[in-house]
């Protein structure tokens, strides 16, 4: 599949202008940052809490914002215009994801900075955060493509926010009910496991399994998104 940076950039620029004037959605990005500052003042010790914030950023910025952006393009029938243009699936999905990706990275950075999270190995954590964000952006895109309006999208995305933000609480429940063991393979739990190992001095080689599982989620989510998108091109 061909990707045209000119087209991706055109969509990014358009999205940036549009998003900055869409206060209802854009104000969401401040929630994790404010919480980060709040936790920073209280003094956060545990990795779980740091990643509660980071996973919440994924859910609220990467998934929720992306879902709303896509749903709005659907609702206003502008997605149709993009689909009828020479832009390829990769151009449209790439262009539509880039703004969300940049915002997610900026918000994760500020939130972690304010909460005073200092990873033992910044390279591994950065890579894991970038990889994880791809999963949430794809998830948001999928849900956005499913919903008919922004309102519907914001309802559909709620369970996702809850499940993925509250990763550490899920682990507690899982300990009680072993049948829920599969839940520990979710990318948010894997990210916490990875970060815990890194804090205990693990190197790249020690967290390959966690990386592989997250990567698996990313690949599955991207493939599904492309399939749904292609289906949406024809009524």
């Amino acid at each position: 599949m061909m990707i045209s940076w000119k087209r991706v950039n055109a969509i990014l620029q358009k999205d940036f202008k549009d998003f900055s004037r869409n206060l209802a959605v854009s104000s969401v990005i401040f929630v994790p940052i404010i919480l980060g500052a709040f936790y920073g003042r209280m003094g956060v010790e545990s990795i779980e809490t740091h990643f509660l914030l980071i996973n919440m950023t994924f859910a609220m910025v990467a998934a929720f914002v992306q879902c709303c952006l896509i749903a709005e393009e659907k609702e206003k029938n502008t997605l149709r215009g993009l689909m009828l243009s020479p832009a390829s699936t990769a151009d449209i999905l790439g262009g539509k994801s880039l703004l969300t990706f940049i915002m997610t990275m900026v918000v994760v950075f500020f939130t972690a900075f304010l909460a005073e999270y200092k990873p033992a190995n910044i390279a591994i954590i950065t890579l894991a955060v970038i990889l994880s964000s791809f999963f949430y952006i794809a998830l948001g895109t999928m849900l956005g493509l499913y919903s008919k309006s922004v309102l519907e999208a914001s309802v559909i995305v709620m369970p996702v926010i809850i499940v993925f933000s509250l990763g550490s609480f899920i682990t507690l429940v899982v300990e009680k009910y072993p049948i829920l063991q599969v839940v520990t393979y979710l990318p948010n739990i894997q990210l916490i496991d990875l970060a815990t190992k890194v804090e205990a001095g693990a190197g790249f080689g020690d967290v390959l399994v966690e990386f592989a599982i997250i990567l698996g989620w990313v690949i599955a989510a991207v493939i599904l998104t492309v399939i749904i998108f292609r289906k949406r091109m024809v009524d």
């Binding site: 950039n9 055109a10 620029q13 206003k76 215009g81 091109m233 009524d235």
Partner: protein
């Protein structure tokens, strides 16, 4: 002449609702083709099939000699433009920013923006936010967007439905100029006046079928009786039959300076439509 659109036995069924059944027509390269029908007759459905947005239930549709399923290819997408009734513009952005996006997507220089805005009479308004525009202005922006890349083939779904007469005329001039430069236009409308002044050929669509297809001129001729109406100085209107009897009467009226106006009794396209389909447009 080369056909740019070829449709045969085209049908589309939504659940148990038949939108179009067995539609056949060809559009020649370079013509303005009018697809006329009351609302619900299947005009939009046909455009959606022809632009690859909808898969037909049966039959074939070819554009540029290729099956419409091939239109996903970006090279084909550059060759046609579409205006549909639901605008698809970004409301928070200015007219200019909306068109800029499309320039970039279609590889068109930004200098085209002023040119197309001129054509739709909106050059002064380009920094206005789209959400603040009237319905008619929005429709004109959508039209500007559809023709910004100078497509070979333009699909217009009721392009002037929200416009006042002055702007409609301006748009008609623009479309004619575009057509003279080589753009083939497929236009749906329920405005018979528009079809009459703009189209080289028209198809009458009713209940998902084409009832009649010809040039407006031929249609008018074949549906007209050959009588003429003469208005006299005493405000009387007389209908004169064809042949020597009518000719003699006309001679007498003219000879005695009684004639104010003479009208041929051609039907308008709208009247022909009613006669053929038994129903009114719009």
């Amino acid at each position: 002449m080369e056909n740019i659109i070829e449709v045969s036995s085209l049908a589309k069924v939504f659940g148990n609702q038949t939108a179009i059944e067995s539609v056949d027509f060809r559009v020649k390269k370079g013509e303005i083709f009018g697809f006329l029908g009351p609302s619900g007759s299947g005009k939009t459905t046909t455009i959606k099939i022809l632009t690859g947005q909808l898969t037909p239930t049966s039959g074939t549709a070819k554009v540029f000699g290729e099956s419409v399923s091939q239109l996903k290819n970006s090279e084909y997408r550059k060759r046609f433009g579409v205006l549909t009734d639901n605008s698809g513009l970004y409301g928070r952005l200015s007219i200019y920013d909306n068109l800029k996006l499309y320039c970039d997507l279609y590889d068109v220089p930004l200098s085209k923006i002023d040119e197309v805005l001129d054509a739709v009479n909106l050059k002064q308004e380009k920094s206005k936010k789209v959400s603040t525009l009237s319905k008619g202005m929005t429709q004109r922006v959508t039209l500007a967007r559809a023709l910004i890349h100078e497509p070979e083939l333009l699909f217009l779904d009721e392009p002037t439905s929200a416009l006042d007469p002055t702007n409609s005329l301006h748009i008609h001039d623009g479309l004619r100029a575009l057509n003279e430069k080589g753009t083939t236009i497929f236009l749906t409308t329920h405005d018979m006046q528009e079809a009459e002044t703009l189209c080289d050929r028209v198809a009458f669509l009713n209940n998902g079928k084409i009832q009649l297809l010809d040039t407006p001129d031929k249609l008018r001729k074949s549906y007209s009786d050959s009588t003429i109406t003469v208005e006299l100085t005493n405000e009387e209107k007389v209908i004169l039959p064809a042949g020597s009897e009518g000719a003699n009467q006309l001679f007498n009226y003219m000879n005695t300076n009684q004639v104010v106006t003479i009208h041929s009794n051609e039907l308008t396209l709208g009247e022909i439509f009613v006669q053929v389909t038994g129903r009114k447009l719009a």
